[in-house]
Amino acid sequence: MSKVVFECSANGALFLLMGAAFMFPFEVHELNVTAHGFAFSVSTSPALLLFLASLLAWVLVRLAFIRRMRVRASMLDNLELAAEDERERAISSRASRSAYVTAMTGLIACLGVLAAAYIFGLLADAPASTMYRVAVGCVVGVLFVVNAVYCARWCVEYRR
């Protein structure tokens, strides 16, 4: 169970950081390189750098966790789906079903929110970036909730 809690907690934190990075860039630093017929630019922000640093730290912590807990999984496997036996496979299947239903419901609700905002002009007076932020917020919210639902269902089933 610890592997699922670990992976889902890390995923949840990364989703929130990713959302913060894309929704609130604060100050953007741009690096532009131009040469003969070639242009290259990189845009970043403190929140995005924090997200990337967390991503790198997560890879190292995950590797240490897999070795310490002796989980039968490689670095490329999804730990929340790695099953030690047939019961864990069955639990993952049930948790995936709950997560799928939540994902579909959440995405449809998000589309409804975006469509309503567009049709009724709710964001007509807002800056152009507001719709982008609402969309990113919806995606991050759905990912976070789906992740939490998977983790909760997995743990409840495992305890039975």
Binding site: E84, D85, E86, R87, E88, Y158, R160
Partner: protein, 70 residues
């Protein structure tokens, strides 16, 4: 609705096996044996046969179908 009841706990104790030892013998986790003994998990046919084989009995002597009063 029918359910499956089992004698895993009784047979395991009769054979002097710990939950961990039985789990290792049949290739599952200890938590699966705990869940089986509580009646919270219905095993696959393969696991049921492995358990019966470990106890030297037939599957129907370890597992039985029970009709609920629903």
């Amino acid at each position: 609705m029918a359910t499956i009841v089992n004698r895993v706990r009784e047979l395991r104790e009769a054979h002097g096996l710990s939950q961990a030892a039985l789990a290792e013998a049949v290739g599952v986790t200890r938590q699966t044996i705990i869940s089986l003994e509580r009646g919270g998990y219905v095993p696959s046919l393969l696991l049921a046969m492995s358990l019966a084989e470990r106890f030297g009995m037939a599957v129907e002597d370890v597992f039985a179908k029970e009709e609920d009063a629903l």
